[in-house]
């Protein structure tokens, strides 16, 4: 397939996933923050600061009243067009890419993207804040999940599909790592591990999986290592690995490029290391290392499949 089309699919996948995950982070955190709102022990503000970090909000607001932190985080993550991690930016990027490769998408998939775009463009921070952001976030989550479903059901599962999957699961692994990285597990072991599970849609599966009294650390291990949880790091890395091997047509266990090699190493580590080994230096260290690896993986995928070819070679200029 065309390199340009593959690249657009990759970034579409990444940004659809980003919009969905940011919506989920905000929704879960906003709901949990309501329990802390009347307390004066700094936990409300602490929670919002963790949300900021998870959502890739680097600059910390200067005026530090707790309300201010919450409001700034919402403003930044929902409708800030200057923030590439905001929902409105992610949806715009998805739509711009979809427009450029519209001939490759099914009518139904294009329509899901366009309807989401038209919805998000028609909303404002004021309305989202006035009535609480839950309705907006629910809409975004449902539309992005519809995207996944319609893509699965209507798009041919060839190379195009594989590039879309690669982008989606790379972003998912990346945001899961960032949630772990931003979470204040030392100070709030129980609250935080519960919030992490909810942000990964893993709260009920985790309860089901861990029969006896689980420790917060078990929850972290579940988010990283669960074989069947679709938002675990291990699951995401397996999906990336499978998609990359289908694109290059290389047998599993071997590699055709640097990206496949790296993802194979990461998989082997999660598949065969024990939780004790993985968490030996703390969750933070694991998350930070993973973030670095995933950034490297992204640029290796780009140089393997979307090289910046000159527009003409062998021309007579």
């Amino acid at each position: 397939m065309l390199s340009r089309v593959a690249e657009s699919l990759f970034w579409m996948g990444r940004n659809v996933e980003r919009a969905e995950t940011i919506a989920r982070i905000l929704d879960v955190s906003y709901t949990r923050a309501m329990d802390l709102y009347t307390r004066d022990d700094g936990r409300y503000e602490q929670l919002w600061r963790s949300v900021m970090r998870a959502a890739g909000f680097v600059a910390q607001p200067k005026i530090v009243t707790p309300d201010r932190v919450a409001h700034e985080t919402l403003a930044h993550c929902l409708f800030d067009r200057g923030n590439p991690n905001s929902i409105v930016s992610a949806v715009r990027i998805v739509r711009t890419n979809a427009l450029g490769i519209r001939a490759e998408l099914t009518t139904e998939l294009w329509q899901v993207v366009n309807v989401l775009y038209l919805y998000v463009e028609g909303q404002s921070l004021r309305s989202a804040v006035r009535e609480g952001p839950a309705r907006f976030l629910k809409h975004v989550r449902e539309a992005t999940q519809a995207f996944a479903g319609v893509a699965d059901a209507t798009l041919s599962h060839g190379d195009a599909w594989c590039f879309l999957q690669t982008g989606r699961f790379l972003e998912r692994a990346y945001l899961t790592a960032r949630m772990l990285d931003a979470s204040d597990v030392e100070r709030e072991p129980w609250q935080e591990s519960q919030r992490l599970l909810e942000m990964c849609c893993a709260s009920e599966p985790f309860i089901h999986y861990s029969h006896d009294a689980p420790e917060p650390r078990d929850a972290h291990a579940y988010i990283v290592l669960a074989v069947d949880c679709p938002r675990s790091m291990r699951f995401a890395l397996r999906e990336i690995d499978l998609a990359l091997h289908r694109i290059s047509n290389t047998p599993e266990g071997t590699f055709a490029n640097a990206a496949e090699r790296r993802v194979g190493r990461l998989r082997a580590r999660l598949d065969f290391a024990s939780a004790d080994e993985l968490f030996a230096s703390g969750i933070d260290a694991l998350a930070t290392g993973m973030l670095g690896d995933l950034l490297g993986l992204s640029s290796e995928i780009e140089s393997a499949y979307f090289p910046r070819l000159p527009s003409a070679i062998g021309g007579s200029l």
Binding site: L2, R4, G100, A103, N114, V115, I247, S311, G315, L317
Partner: protein, 494 residues
């Protein structure tokens, strides 16, 4: 006793047709109503069905069609407005119906015309027989901005220049179809034909009852057949691509639709590369050879080496690959010479000269401003004439004499005197009208008809024609850039 629904009973409803009283005496032909006010025979079923649907119901369904068009992204870009304004192409739900005998005549006339236009283009780049025999003035051809000297002596694959054309027809006061304009470069509009049918079936399935209509959705298959037929080498399955200027082009939606329905890649200039006079497309598994390019980019932007050097839409080296015979461009470079408006009036002569036939579809009378007598007549009668710039399209660069102010006419008179080759003039033709839903009221609006023709081994005229409608009251200009919309066009099988 089994539960039964309500007895079916014809209840009088207030339909959109209710308060529409067509003028008893009109100066023009109406597509639906006879002069007495009764519907024409082939519209009787439609009128009966439509009058059984309550007005509010019709308006609600129109609303849902408009939502569907927006969500499907059936939009065009308005260049004059803020950057990248996307607008839904206005759609009128009342279809335009053509009888089998009307269409048969159109089909034969279009096929004849396209054969002659293609022969003409080949001739002016080769033997120039029609010029040697002085049937068409030589200087008219050479002065055409679309005449491309680089194409002289070049043999194009399968001898085809105008793979795709759109011939604009209008109906005069007697109901006779006339050719208003030929479009031999990159005529657009077929996507609206396909989408109009889809959304009308969605919103008004009941209207289709009792009609046998030709389907329109085989157009992409027929287009692909023509493109493959014209590949440079026979044999293996040729690699066909659609070349688009990109997402900001007003017809981008159409480019994506055609590529998707033909099952071929939609590429931008940056996706293509020319190596040793062969065109390749850049893919994730390396370079792949391209055989046929259905390009929706004007000649001027195709290759910065030959044409506009600042163009970033095209492909460096494409012209060399084309001249070397390694790639097919559809339409061929230089085809625009055939739809230069100054040559329009000579098309009947082309038909007689190349085919030895009399034209089946007549032209609109046209004045040539380079002829001094005719130019004087034009300038003296500007208040009755339509003046067109021979190099413009889309309804731009036009003077509608009867509607223009004194100053506008004076300005055009000066322009014509300064460069007579750039203008032609025609009497103001009363286009036919068709009932159209405007603000919930049925109102008479002017329409034209654009059938599309495909030329491969022979001319193929698919049953897919675009009816454009001038939505502004009294307007005779149907172009989408000038407030035009469209209707679904039904061609009856019997």
């Amino acid at each position: 006793m089994p539960a039964r629904g309500a007895e079916s009973e014809v209840m009088p409803v207030r339909s959109v047709l209710g308060d529409h009283a067509p003028d008893a005496v009109t100066s023009h032909y109406d597509e639906l109503f006879q002069p007495g006010g009764n519907p024409r025979d082939h519209y009787a079923t439609l009128v009966a069905t439509l009058s059984g649907i309550a007005r509010d119901e019709v308006l609600a369904r129109v609303q849902s069609i408009n939502t569907m068009l927006l969500q499907r992204g059936v939009t065009f870009t308005v260049y004059a407005e803020a950057a990248g304004t996307e607008r839904v192409f206005p759609f009128d739900i009342i279809p335009r119906i053509l009888t089998k005998s009307e269409w048969d005549r159109i089909e034969r006339g279009i096929a004849q015309r396209v054969r002659a236009l293609n022969a003409f283009i080949h001739d002016v780049y080769h033997e120039e027989r029609i010029l040697h025999e002085r049937r068409i003035p030589r200087e008219l051809v050479y002065s055409s901005r679309s005449f491309c000297r680089e194409m002289i002596g070049v043999d194009v694959p399968a001898g085809v220049y105008v793979h795709v054309s759109g011939i604009d027809l209008i109906r005069d006061t007697h109901g006779q179809f006339l050719v208003l304009e030929d479009n031999c470069r990159t005529p657009s509009g077929i996507s609206y034909v396909l989408e109009n049918r889809t959304v009308l079936k969605f919103g008004f399935p009941d209207l289709f009852r009792g009609h046998g209509i030709h389907p329109v959705d085989d157009y992409p298959r027929r287009l692909l057949r023509v493109l493959r037929h014209c590949a440079p080498q026979a044999g293996e399955r040729p690699n066909v691509v659609v070349l688009t200027p990109g997402i900001h082009n007003s017809a981008y939606f159409e480019h994506t639709l055609l590529a998707r329905r033909m099952g071929v890649e939609l590429v931008e200039g940056c996706d293509l590369i020319v190596v040793d006079d062969v065109v390749y497309v850049k893919t994730t598994s390396g370079l792949e050879r391209v055989d046929v390019i259905y390009r929706r980019i004007d000649d001027d932007y195709l290759d910065p080496l030959y044409f506009r050097p600042e163009s970033t839409l095209g492909v460096t080296g494409l012209m060399n690959a084309y001249r070397a015979g390694n790639v097919t461009l559809a339409n061929a470079i230089g085809s625009g010479v055939a739809d230069d408006k100054a040559l329009y009036r000579h098309v009947p002569e082309m038909i007689r000269f190349y085919l030895g036939e009399e034209p089946l579809l007549e032209n609109v009378p046209t004045y040539d401003c380079t002829d001094e007598t005719e130019r004087r007549h034009v300038i003296a009668n500007l208040d009755k004439l339509v003046v067109k710039n021979t190099n413009a399209s889309g309804g731009f660069g036009m003077l509608m004499g009867p509607f223009a102010s004194h100053d506008e006419r004076a300005a055009f008179a000066a322009l014509i005197e300064a460069s007579p080759r750039d203008f032609i003039a025609q009497p103001t033709i009363e286009l036919s009208s068709a009932p159209t839903l405007i603000d919930g009221q049925l109102t008479s609006r002017r329409v034209d008809l654009r059938p599309f023709a495909l030329l491969g081994a022979e001319v193929d005229v698919p049953h897919a024609a675009l009816t454009r409608v001038a939505l502004r009251d009294g307007s005779l200009v149907v172009n989408s850039s000038q407030g035009g919309g469209s209707k679904d066009t039904w061609i009856l099988q019997n």
